[in-house]
């Protein structure tokens, strides 16, 4: 009649049972899904958006042909033709050049006075006037182009005069200045992409947050925790299953964010900025792997915090604050580079972000640095899992409000 009880199932199998249930439950929850799949996309999208804006500015000024208001065109037809050849299309000047430039209606106005032709023929410096506003960044790009084009014309003309007098043009160029730009494309972009680790860490927290709350504070609030605790399950198995479910959602978010970052150069015209951001699959895989122990620690932390919260709502507000904490050091690092100290390298979240920034900058990072950061996070994950197990033991969670 009454069946005999079989052998006690291994704790890991029970943990898997809990995990499977929490995943099924979480995947049916619209809030949990959107936290894991929609919100993490905001980071890459914000970056792509801001790049598009900046690069539109720079590109149109640097490459496309630009309208250049010129007054007194008839005084220097050759010069005007030379400018047009360089993509500076002469147009009618505004009535008051100074006012138009100051108000930003036009970037720059070139005016060629009537005496230009006579001075040029006499071999004396021929005056041209450039009206610019140095304080406007976008205008500066156009002004630089005009200036450079004018100097070029000057050099060409000077060389012709020398040749006519039987002098080699090299005589007036005693220096051959060669500029070597040591800022690699990677290091230039790293200034912008030092915020990327911040977004990766953020996605880890956002992804698992809703599930961590739902399986702990939520479970207590909907009164399903007591029946669950009446089951013959080691508390560690229960905790592992719940941390695992939260970690799975964090993993979805992290993976999605990583993929979105690899697609960033496709969405945003980065090359136009002189920013080569090559986030090849190898780099993405490294960032992803580096984040895994941190992901476990974050999930365990969220389960502990949510389990101790007074209510579902309280858990939510504590959590949105918690989410920012590991991101703060990364954010500060992005703003003001600080010299790395030993303790920073083994501080979970901070250690990983330091390694990420250096990788993205194209530096060689010792493998030990990455491993050290990962070990620190893994250790934290284990400690927090133990704390969570304690919380679930002896009915503390059920009857003693934090």
């Amino acid at each position: 009649m009454i069946a005999k009880a079989g052998a006690q199932p291994p704790a890991l199998r029970l943990a898997r049972t809990v995990l499977a249930k929490e995943l099924r439950d979480g995947l049916r929850d619209r809030r949990s899904l959107s936290m894991a799949l929609v919100f993490p996309l905001l980071g890459p999208l914000v970056l792509a958006g801001s790049f598009s804006l900046v690069s539109k500015d720079v590109r149109s000024a640097a490459e496309d042909s630009v309208k250049l208001p010129v007054s007194g065109r008839e005084n220097a037809p050759e010069l005007v033709a030379f400018l047009a050849e360089g993509g500076l299309d002469p147009v009618e000047p505004p009535a008051s050049p100074e006012r138009a430039v100051r108000s930003g209606d036009v970037d720059v106005v070139l005016s060629i006075p009537p005496e230009y032709g006579a001075r040029l023929r006499e071999g004396r410096p021929a005056p041209v006037r450039l009206v610019v506003d140095q304080s406007r960044r976008a205008a500066k790009v156009t002004a630089d182009r005009v200036r450079e084009r004018l100097e070029r014309w000057g050099r060409v003309t000077a060389a012709q005069r020398l040749v006519m007098r039987g002098v080699h043009p090299a005589v007036i160029e005693p220096l051959a200045v060669e500029e070597v730009d040591v800022s690699t494309a990677e290091s230039r972009s790293a200034i912008l992409f030092s915020v990327m680790p911040y977004f990766l860490v953020l996605s880890i927290f956002m992804g698992g947050m809703s599930v961590a709350i739902d399986t702990t504070a939520g479970e207590r609030e909907r009164l399903s925790l007591e029946p669950l605790l009446a089951n013959p399950v080691p508390r560690a198995a229960l905790v592992l299953g719940k941390i695992g479910a939260s970690a799975f959602f964090s993993l979805m978010a992290l993976t999605e964010t990583s993929i979105a970052f690899t697609l960033l150069p496709v969405i945003a015209p980065l090359e136009d900025l002189g920013v080569s951001f090559r986030l090849d699959p190898g780099m993405v895989a490294r960032l992803w792997l580096l984040s895994l122990p941190l992901l476990l620690a974050a999930s365990a932390l969220m389960v502990v915090v949510a389990a101790r919260a007074r209510s579902f709502r309280a858990a939510q507000s504590t959590m949105s604050f918690l989410m920012l904490v590991p991101a703060i050091p990364g954010f500060i690092l992005a703003m003001t580079p600080v010299k790395e100290k030993a303790w920073m390298k083994i501080t979970p979240a901070l250690g990983e972000q330091l390694v990420m920034v250096r990788w993205l900058r194209g530096e060689l990072v010792p493998v030990e640095d990455a491993l050290r950061a990962m070990s620190a996070s893994l250790l934290l994950a284990v400690l927090l899992a133990v704390v969570a197990t304690r919380l679930f033991e002896g009915g503390k969670l059920l009857f003693e409000k934090a």
């Binding site: 052998a7 439950d25 009164l223 669950l228 089951n231």
Partner: protein
């Protein structure tokens, strides 16, 4: 068989249990009767292992909960005070989850789930999500997941609370059936009549202490009262909190 020996539990300044001892035999329905706030739920929570007592011990089939909670809980089917469901899971998924937590798997699990779904007449809502279930449906799900692993000992905290007449009768029938199968059944109630018709033994608890125990007849005899209700009032010393 379930036994409590000198169990004490204090919550802050309130002493909820002050040395509670009683035994619940196999093949009997035992009612834990007492006014609201007497300590019924606290005592049952100690039995099913979600609350650790400050002193004394609780055993299930001789297994001390303090020594091996998991082994003791494996021999229990529990309908706790709180019967929350997961709104996004179906009734059948609830039952499957608890069956798996009790170590069932594969075909054996599916067979037991099908059996209990049929026994509790849950077929028409078994594959619907719990969100929007009626109180009767919710209790059935809670009962199904408590009994799916075929436990020797069954503990139920106010199982007929909030049920309509039909559902109440069904639950009482189920308790008798469990007893007739030779199981040890312990349930709490503050409803006098229920205890009178259902129980082989009654444990009366008031202010955290067992004030009387025995068969309904023995209770009437020892207090010298005609009705069980009068016997009960005599035992607890007041009419406070009776339903």
């Amino acid at each position: 068989m379930i036994a409590l020996q000198g169990v004490r539990k204090r919550f802050g300044k309130v002493e909820a249990l002050r040395g509670v001892s009683f035994e619940v035999a196999d093949g009997q329905v035992t009612g834990l009767l007492g006014p609201n706030g007497a300590g019924k739920t606290t005592a049952l929570r100690v039995v099913y292992g979600v609350l650790v007592p400050d002193a004394g011990r609780a055993t299930v089939d001789g297994i001390d909960l303090a020594a091996d909670r998991v082994a003791a809980q494996r021999r229990l089917g529990v309908l706790p005070h709180a019967q929350g469901l997961y709104p996004r899971l179906t009734a059948r998924e609830h039952v499957r989850y608890f069956a798996a937590l009790h170590g069932l798997l594969g075909e054996g699990l599916e067979a037991r789930v099908a059996e209990i779904v049929a026994a509790l007449d849950m077929a028409d809502f078994a594959d619907r999500r719990a969100d929007g279930f009626s109180q009767g449906q919710r209790v059935k799900v809670a009962l199904a997941r408590a009994l799916v692993h075929d436990p020797r000992n069954v503990v139920l905290d106010e199982p007929t609370n909030g049920l309509d007449v039909g559902a109440t009768r069904a639950v009482r029938g189920l308790l008798r059936k469990l007893r007739d199968e030779g199981r040890c059944v312990l349930f709490s109630s503050h409803v006098m009549q229920e205890v009178g018709i259902l129980c082989d033994r009654v444990v009366v608890i008031a202010r955290g202490e067992v004030v009387a125990q025995g068969s309904p007849d023995e209770l009437r005899r020892s207090t010298g009262k005609e009705s069980l209700e009068d016997a009960f009032v005599a035992a607890i010393g007041s009419e406070e909190g009776l339903g």
